[in-house]
């Protein structure tokens, strides 16, 4: 293996971030490149099967430095024994003597079970002495969990089941030796294990769910950010560049506002083609706004689906908007549509220059052909109300 292809040295540490108790499984799993879940299951399984899991865990806790640190708790304990080392040794030897005494009296489980647990206990004591505040609190949290009534009851039931299972297994292997007994015993052990370790699996499941939820949320945020970047930020940049042209700024701001509104509220304007009078008028208003840099506000009361006649009405209204935008000099045009008992009226109003209807009627082809004649062809009519200085209102009826 050349030095280039070598991976970052797999250093065994205790993870700071991925931890249930002391980060042993998280850290080791990362160093080995396996799923932390596998490590945790292994530790629990080994603990249940004879106590070696707990021992290994505690040893790892003692001898693995925490991520970002280069000194394990064991090393720290040796380097800095503290003033009460003698006291600890005294207590330790008394305890050891007591245990040996108990062993001699015969109230004893088995060497294979007690010694690993005892070593684990000593290890925990060392950890307790050396640990920083946060490690102590995680130890306390474990104790606290055990003390909670529900947890306690669950553990008790689990232990009883395990004991029953083991007892049944022993009885079965002794004389009765029925397959049925073996099955019962196994069921008891499995049930007990499920009860004892249940909360662990539950929490694991919850962690996975919340992890997935976090990921979905961050994906949504990324999508919003991308959209804002493509639209709003671009427009803001354009606005800064065109700061000395108020009209352009207004047009850009309006267009961006409309686009953002459509995106946020997903209303009918999102459809590729408007399907109703109100939507079609709003669309026409936007187009004219974009082309001529005026503000066109459409208010509609009632609505109806588009057909050929209504399309003609919208086209005529659009022409009226264009005229108002081009000739009136007013910065804003009001469009009002009302549908009442089958009658449709649309008003296009500006308060700009207005004109003398009699003087221009003959040669204003735009008005004649695209508004008045168009409405007449579809069985409607157009009335233009204007005078110099009083603005213009085009009323369209069907």
């Amino acid at each position: 293996m050349s030095s280039e292809t070598r991976r970052i040295p797999a250093r065994f540490t205790r993870s700071r971030t991925d931890r249930v108790l002391a980060g042993v499984c998280g850290g080791v799993a990362r160093a080995l490149g396996v799923d932390p879940l596998v490590m945790r299951v292994a530790v629990v399984a080994l603990t249940v099967a004879g106590g070696t899991g707990a021992l290994l865990y505690v040893l790892a806790w003692l001898f693995l430095p925490e991520e970002g640190s280069d000194r394990s708790l064991a090393v720290a304990a040796v380097r800095d024994p503290g003033r009460d080392l003698a006291e600890v040794l005294a207590i330790g030897s008394i305890a050891l003597g007591a245990i040996l005494l108990v062993r001699a009296t015969g109230v004893w489980f088995s060497d294979a079970f007690v010694w690993p647990l005892l070593l684990a206990g000593v290890g925990l004591a060392v950890i307790w002495r050396q640990a920083g505040a946060d490690e102590r609190s995680s130890l306390l949290a474990v104790v606290d969990l055990r003390l909670r009534r529900a947890a306690l009851a669950r553990v008790a039931v689990g232990v009883v089941l395990v004991v029953l299972g083991v007892g049944a297994f022993l009885a079965a292997s002794d004389a009765f030796s029925a397959v049925r007994q073996g099955v019962l015993a196994t069921a008891g052990i499995v049930g007990g294990l499920a009860l004892i370790t249940g909360p662990f699996w539950l929490r694991m499941g919850r962690d996975l769910t919340s992890e997935r939820r976090r990921r979905i949320r961050s994906e949504e945020r990324a999508e919003v950010a991308a959209h804002l970047h493509d639209s709003v930020l671009q427009t803001l940049a354009l606005i800064q560049r065109n700061a000395e042209d108020p009209r352009a700024v207004v047009t850009m701001a309006r267009r961006q506002e409309r686009e953002l509104r459509g995106w946020l509220f997903e209303n009918e304007q999102d459809q590729p083609d408007a399907q109703t009078l109100a939507a079609a008028l709003a669309r026409a208003g936007e187009e004219v706004e974009g082309l001529h840099g005026v503000t066109i506000d459409v208010v509609a009361v009632g609505d109806l689906p588009l057909d050929d006649r209504v399309r003609a009405l919208v086209a005529a209204a659009r022409e009226a908007m264009v005229n108002a935008a081009k000739w009136s000099g007013d910065a804003s045009v009001s469009v009002y549509a009302e549908v009442r008992e089958g009658d449709v009226s649309v008003f296009v109003r500006d308060w700009g220059a207005g004109f003398d209807l009699g003087a221009v009627a003959a040669d204003r082809h735009g008005v004649r052909e695209s508004i008045v004649d168009r409405m007449a062809r579809h069985g409607g009519k157009a009335v233009i109300k204007t005078a110099p200085g009083e603005g213009t209102e085009v009323e369209l009826r069907l």
């Binding site: 209303n267 709003a282 208010v299 009361v301 009632g302 009001s334 009002y336 109003r349």
Partner: protein
């Protein structure tokens, strides 16, 4: 009212409050601003402005909560609602809570100052959109009604609202209908009254069904 009206701003966007202050300039006397419901109620009750310029969308209950918190203790304080949303639900909601008018945030500075003055004088300010909403909401037949006077608009009120929706200022409406500007104002106040007090069950339902234009 001859003196400059005193105004209090309630909006959770500081940038917007600054913008409004700058746009209003000397036209009114801004006596304070707040960004949250609780602080707004407290300061308004303390300073008693003529007009509260109120954002419809606020955290913790929206503009409606501010109106409801102030009105019982200080009925003389008038509210002008200001919104970007134009959602019928919001607009009708804040008007029914007691606001005397509603304008959109795209309104120009001089127009806003004018609207504030009118609300301070006890008038009602309807935007084109609000007029459209009201016409729409009252368009359906009211059905069995406890109080027909409250549940229906008169023909004249409808005409006035329609002209507002068409973009006519009050003066032009008066000219068009050959009535005085004062009479126009009376009709609009009467519509506001009906909007606030009518029990038409379909008014609220209409507003909730109708989301955005």
């Amino acid at each position: 009212m001859s003196a400059k009206p005193t105004v209090f701003l309630v909006d959770d966007h500081e940038l917007f409050r600054k913008g409004v202050r700058a746009e209003l300039g000397d036209a009114v006397d801004v006596v304070g601003e707040a960004s949250e419901v609780a602080a707004a109620i407290e300061m308004i009750l303390e300073r008693r402005p003529d007009v509260v310029l109120l954002d419809v969308h606020l955290p913790d209950g929206g503009g409606r909560a501010v109106v409801q918190g102030v009105a019982p203790a200080a009925p003389e304080v008038r509210f002008l609602a200001l919104s970007v949303s134009d959602a019928a639900e919001d607009v009708i909601g804040v008007i029914r809570a007691g606001a005397r008018g509603y304008v959109t945030k795209t309104i120009s500075g001089p127009e806003l100052a004018d609207a504030i003055r009118r609300v301070a004088d006890g008038d009602v300010v309807f935007s084109r959109r609000l007029a459209g909403f009201v016409l729409d909401a009252f368009a359906a037949s009211p059905g069995p009604s406890a109080d027909p006077d409250l549940d229906q608009l008169t023909a004249r009120e409808q005409e006035v609202l329609r002209l507002i929706a068409r973009g006519y200022p009050y003066k032009a409406i008066a000219k068009e209908l050959v009535i005085s500007a004062r009479t126009v104002e009376t009709h609009v106040s009467s519509v506001l009254h009906k909007l606030q007090l009518s029990n038409r069950h379909d008014l609220t339902r209409w507003a909730t069904e109708r989301r955005l234009i």
